[in-house]
Amino acid sequence: MINRRKLILSGLAGAGTLLAPRIAFAAAETDRRFIFIIQRGAADGLAILAPTGDPAFAAARGDLAANAASGAKLDSLFTLHPALATGAELFRNKQALFAHAIASGYRERSHFDGQNMLETAGTRPYARDDGWINRLLALLPKGESKALALATAIPPALRGPVTVSSYAPSRLPDADSALLERVAMLYAEDAQLAPLWSSAVQTEAMAGAVDPGNGRGGTATGKLIASLMAGADGARVAMVETTGWDTHINQEGRLGNVLKGIDEMIAALRTDLGPAWSKTVILVATEFGRTVHVNGTRGTDHGTASAAMLFGGSLAKGGRINADWPGLAAGQLYESRDLKPTMRFEALVTEALSAHYGIEPERFRRTVFPDYA
């Protein structure tokens, strides 16, 4: 689930005083906006944008295939996850564009390294100190280069010479549910801690303090970002971090919850940005995808290519799916297990954002993705 602590504006002070939020923006000149929603943890593109038309899909996905097929059918090959109701509506209105079998240049399966490559677009993990969004800021007119991270620390994608602000709302004293789930696994073999932890979580759940992951947070985040990007002094570029995508166990329910959060965030942004929605592009992307086949715990493990999504009021090529589909049959997989990448993340971003900002694509690529030719 999206980290609720980062979402809720009002809240108990408590130890929230550890870090006082800082907001500082300069005056705006123009109205184009860009929002990057990063899915940390490797989101399963094969569930988000399910290739239900691929003959190998049903067999590979087993129990998870039925749920995938229950969503909005976008064309003969792809079905959108049922939790993405707003996403489907935007697609019909040509305000959404999906890309599949997409990946950064990273071909291993470590979250940390994969996220670093997605965010810096370097030739290897930690090769670059600056992020591609920071390089993009250098290309934008002053009024459009005010960027904001909805986080306490600036994420790698926004780091670099251009100054970026960050904002972390007061936090309620609860942990995000993704961490709580990890802790349960961490304590599984500890005779003292495992029962303590299960009791703690049960009690908290009854008290309603633990985010049940039902997507309520998505609307709040969307509204928060919209408010931070509103008015002449608002930010024009923003980045939001979401977690909960690393669905090794019982994927169906978990993924449904986090996707619902994303869908509600998009819906809230569309509503609250108002007229600015028509000058906004939202990118949703993850560090890599997940295995084609379901694992032994009704989840999926770290894979390679995944799906990415673009939303916005005036997308250059809205209502389309960009995919050079590699297929899911045995011989078509990457290292015999993963969806094979057929499109680079850098290419998708270059095409979409150079059009959005009216920058000549080759110039855009040279500055934003100098390591990608």
Binding site: R5, A13, G14, A15, T17, L18, L19, A20, R40, G41, A42, S110, H111, F112, Q115, A151, T152, A153, I154, P155, P156, A168, R171, P173, D174, A175, D176, A178, L179, L180, R182, V183, M185, L186, Y187, E189, D190, Q192, L193, L196, W197, S199, A200, V201, T203, E204, E241, T243, G244, W245, D246
Partner: protein
């Protein structure tokens, strides 16, 4: 990091900091702290002086009386709203002292010595549950404990017994001998509301020296209480005592002969004929080297450092050292450091909230607590172990059962998430975990950290890993 280094830093010290390896000889590194420990680091030296804190307490009392008086007039409703600046000032003193304690713990290069300070401050516990010592609790640790942790046990006992915070906390300040001069005078006027208070005498025997269910009886408690009469706080007792302590410095312990119960005392088999403060000194000195005290301190020290049920062999070694040296603390610590039992690879101690919080911040390389001074107080309140506020003079419990509960565990996970955000993108938990935990880091935990879905989550998992919750 080698495991003996990790044990020296995490079990003996307050927690490893990034890149804090001790080198070839961790035993020696611990022993060196006996000399390099700074009992009065700048932040602690900068705290208000004892006299200032005590006079602030007097102001709080006056303020309270004034409000009480106002409440009895027609202005009752307004009296409730009267601001209490003196009380606020005292609270500020507490906040400042807690901040100084945490800051010192986070930045100290001699964290074994700092752990000893916390151990002894909890052994001779005072609690701000008693509002009268709100502003003084920090001063108690800074002046009665810190300077004496490398002295003799007798020095600690004396300093603690003679500190105003202890005298006020355990009601010694108002204990009066029934046959003392002042009691006779007051009795002659028909007033009966003064007399003996056994509180501090009992706790010295039960908690500070001999230990409960040991070598003393109720008769010993009463006799000791009689022997202690006269020991009070200058300038802060009830008005009628204040006259008697007139020549003493306000806030300092003073022995008022007129309050003292005259006569010969017999305590734990020893007879003290001389009476007065001399007798009290002799009694404290004898208690400090009693066989039961040696056993009590040896057990508590071994329990704190090694295991809830410490190995009997270790307790015996510590007890023998204590007896042989008459309670020389550096010798005692040396015995602890040299005992192989202290270096058992198994982590048998579950950190209390203070230890866990301090070690977590140290592991992240946080040497300065961000935010306002108040943040430190709020943090430990939230963690369930407010600083200097145990529920009884016994101090905070020192076994896992006292701290390993569901709610406490959840609190740590929440806090770990928050701390991880302080350091996220700056620290890689995959490298940090072996650096901090040494061989205690299990393969399972290392894998969970490596599989975390973000650097931030990896850090949080490291901080709540079983091997980080224990030492």
């Amino acid at each position: 990091m080698r495991n003996d280094e990790a044990i020296a830093l995490n079990r003996f010290g307050l927690g490893a900091t990034p890149g804090s390896a001790l080198g070839a000889n961790p035993h020696k590194a611990l022993l060196n702290q006996f000399d390099s420990f700074d009992p009065r680091p700048p932040l602690i030296a900068a705290q208000p002086a004892r006299a200032e804190l005590v006079s602030a307490l007097s102001e709080v009392r006056e303020e309270k009386q004034q409000r009480k008086a106002a409440a009895q007039t027609d202005m009752a409703a307004d009296a409730e709203k009267t601001p209490l600046p003196a009380r606020r000032a005292v609270r500020k003193d507490y906040v400042s002292a807690v901040h100084a304690r945490l800051q010192t713990a986070l930045s100290s290069p001699t964290s074994f010595a700092e752990r000893l300070v916390h151990f002894w401050a909890n052994h001779f516990a005072v609690s701000i549950e008693k509002i009268a010592i709100f502003g003084l609790a920090g001063n108690f640790e800074f002046e009665a404990i810190r300077p004496h942790i490398f002295g003799r046990f007798a020095n600690l006992l004396h300093a603690s017994t003679y500190h105003p915070a202890m005298l006020l906390y355990l009601d010694q300040a108002q204990s009066v001998g029934p046959n003392s001069k002042i009691a006779q005078r007051v009795g002659a006027r028909g007033k009966r509301d003064i007399g003996l208070n056994e509180n501090l005498a009992r706790e010295i025997l039960e908690l500070h020296t001999l230990g409960d269910r040991s070598a003393y009886s109720q008769t010993d408690v009463t006799e000791f209480a009689r022997a202690m009469t006269g020991l009070t706080v200058g300038g802060l007792g009830r008005a009628r005592f204040q006259r008697l302590t007139g020549n003493s410095k306000p806030g300092e312990a003073v022995f008022v002969e007129a309050m003292h119960e005259p006569g010969k005392r017999t305590i734990v088999g020893q007879t003290y004929a001389q009476g007065g403060e001399k007798a009290l000194g002799a009694i404290l000195s004898d208690l400090s080297t009693n066989r039961a005290t040696a056993r009590h301190i040896a057990t508590k020290l071994a329990r704190h450092f090694v295991a809830d049920l410490p190995p009997a062999t270790l307790v015996a070694k510590l007890e023998a050292s204590f007896l042989k040296t008459g309670g020389d603390l550096p010798s005692l610590y040396r015995t602890l450091i040299e005992a192989p039992e202290s270096w058992a690879p198994q982590q048998a101690k579950f950190k209390n909230p203070w230890e866990w919080t301090v070690s977590a911040l140290r592991a992240l390389g946080v040497t300065e607590m961000p935010g306002r001074e108040q943040a430190a107080v709020a943090l430990f309140n939230q963690m369930g172990q407010p600083v200097w506020k145990p529920g009884s003079p016994k101090g905070y419990g020192d076994v896992a059962a006292d701290w390993a509960g569901p709610a406490g565990l959840l609190r740590r996970v929440e806090t770990a998430g928050r701390f991880a955000r302080l350091a996220a993108n700056r620290v890689d938990a995959r490298n940090l975990a072996p650096d901090i935990l040494g061989d205690a880091l299990t393969k399972t935990t290392a894998e969970h950290i490596a599989r975390a879905e973000s650097p931030e989550q990896g850090l949080a998992l490291m901080l709540v890993a079983p091997e980080f919750l224990r030492r």
